[in-house]
Amino acid sequence: MKLTGENIIEVENLVKRFGSFTAVDNISFQVKKGEVFGFLGANGAGKTTAIKMLIGLWSPTSGKANVAGFDLFTEANQIRKNIGYMAQRFSLYEDLTVIENIQFYGGIYGLRKNILKERAEELISELGMESFRKELIKNIPLGWKQKLALSVAMIHKPKIVFLDEPTSGVDPITRRQFWDLIYNAAEKGTTVFITTHYMDESEYCDRVSIMVDGRIEALDTPAQLKKQFNAESMDEVFLRLARPTESISK
């Protein structure tokens, strides 16, 4: 993948408060076009809150952000046209078939009938899901569902795709295949913004930010981070950063 150096996401002093609790505490970062950007943190560190602000599901309390060239506060609907999102919670309709789900989501993204038909076929053959085509989602295995959800989230060929813990609960083989899909998308120029708490996955990212208690405590390439923290693996980096909190909570 080629990084042009152009920023596709710019976040400045973004804050989200729920009452007196500050979920996201003044974060600032940039994501480059075509990058696979890892967003790491323990459970409750504020990853999901941050991602939901960037995709326009929650209003930030304060700060500035620009996503895909549009202002988060005033041009949310422009942003929506240019991003894809796969939620932590499973988001396909269980009582619709594979093809019906693809047609539905493609349809509400406003894809024309012939284009949608073409993409649906492309997507199904890419995933090797021909035999599942008319199967209800509730009847297919979780790993397949997750891969399908990712592809559906990108059916409109967005500039950026936001993935919120997409691999939690799936087996290592499926995770591997999942990352193939992610690389595939990045190859085609899609920027990937992914949250995870699997540290081995962070090694696959171009750059990684680590959130602790609503703040970004570190942000760099995996190699640089390991050097900076004098660690052998990302696991170690993460533990060094997260340990202070862990000891408090214990």
Binding site: S59, N77, I83, G84, A87, S91, E94, G107, I108
Partner: protein, 373 residues
């Protein structure tokens, strides 16, 4: 526009994939209509009456015969004992006691006035009123007959009776089913529409798909319209079934124009479904949605004029019914189906319901937020 069709298509797929849904939509209203129309009646027939005839005269027997001949009363017990009669009332065997005192005939002939006693169990006040009216009309009839037969032979100073001829319009046989069925049709399509729409958006919140929709550029109004149309179509299908049952089973012929009924039904359903979806956007679980929907449904139905006339309600309650969509539809159905009212006659109701629809749909659209606080 295409996004609306996409939503409609998906809703229909989900509705018809759910096996429990179709019977719920078609069979339940049908069964309810057939049962309720026969059960929800205010006519009172075959009331048990306890007779205490202490006179045992020709006149008293003639009076009792009149009660017997009417369809309204069933002379279940005879006694000379008030205590016995009281017991029967207490046990719920009898609804009323007719007491003919000793000297009834004698007083009637000689004094030209006499006394009767009618005791009615009035726990159900409305029913007691009806019983009283029936009894009075029988006694009056008896009175006139006595007058003509016995008294006027001797005297000629008969008081002139003000005679008011009457005729019952639009429902000449005063058949309560004719009156109830159009209203019940309204109630049935209301219940299904309200519950289905109230549960709809919140269901997507529960399963999490709403977020996936909210990150798409879909317009809020398109989303709401796409959610409304399937239920609107289902409602109109139910209306059609209801009207066919009314025609075939209850022989109710629609006097007015069918397009007017469908026009009003469409506007009405848009209002109702807008309200249901508004509830759906406001709550977090389907359980809360059902609770709220029930709350409004009970008030709306009981205050709709379906069972009790709105004119009989206190003024403040009448004011509330101005905001009750069901009240408008019930009255319009009765007007158009039974009286043949024209579009001009129902214009006030149509205007009111249109405003209501506009308000409800705007509120539902505004309240549906793609971005939470």
């Amino acid at each position: 526009m295409r996004t609306i069709i996409v939503i409609i298509r998906k809703e229909f797929l989900q509705i018809f994939r759910n096996r429990a849904m179709l019977p719920q939509i078609i069979m339940m209203p049908l069964i309810q209509l057939l049962i309720l129309s026969n059960a929800a009646t205010f006519e009172i027939r075959h009331l048990n009456m306890h007779v205490i005839d202490q006179d045992q005269s020709q006149a008293s027997r003639q009076l009792i015969g009149k009660f017997k001949a009417s369809n309204y009363f069933e002379l279940s017990d005879f006694s000379f004992d008030e205590k016995h009669a009281d017991e029967d009332i207490m046990q719920g065997k009898d609804r009323c006691i007719l007491m003919i005192p000793k000297g009834f005939e004698h007083d009637l002939m000689k004094e030209q006035h006499t006394k009767l006693l009618l005791n009615i169990n009035a726990i159900d006040g409305a029913a007691a009123g009806v019983i009283n009216t029936y009894a009075l009309s029988i006694i009056q009839n008896f009175n006139q007959q006595i007058d003509a037969q016995w008294i006027n032979q001797q005297q000629f100073d008969q008081q002139k009776i003000l005679n008011t001829p009457y005729s019952f319009w639009y429902n000449p046989y005063m058949n309560y089913k004719t009156f109830m069925v159009p209203g019940l049709i309204v109630m049935l399509l209301t219940m299904v529409g309200m519950f289905m729409s109230a549960q709809n958006i919140v269901r997507e919140k529960e399963i999490g798909t709403i977020e996936q929709i909210n990150v798409t550029p879909i317009k809020k109004a398109h989303f709401i319209i796409g959610k409304q149309v399937p239920f609107l179509i289902i409602g109109l299908v139910q209306l059609t079934i209801g009207l066919l049952v009314a025609r075939w089973v209850f022989s109710i012929h629609i006097l007015g124009s069918i397009p007017i009924i469908y026009l009003f039904a469409t506007v009405y359903l848009i209002t109702l479904l807008g309200f249901g979806l508004l509830i759906s956007t406001m709550v977090e679980t389907q359980q809360q949605a059902m609770f709220l929907a029930w709350f409004f449904m009970v008030i709306f139905i009981l205050m709709s004029g379906l069972f009790t006339p709105i004119e009989a309600m206190p003024q403040w309650a009448q004011n509330i019914t101005k905001f009750n969509p069901i009240a408008y539809f019930v009255s319009v159905m009765r007007m158009v189906v039974l009286k043949g009212s024209s579009i001009k006659d129902i214009l006030p109701q149509l205007t009111a319901i249109s405003i209501g629809g506009l308000v409800m749909c705007s509120l539902a659209t505004l309240r549906y937020r793609k971005r939470a606080g």
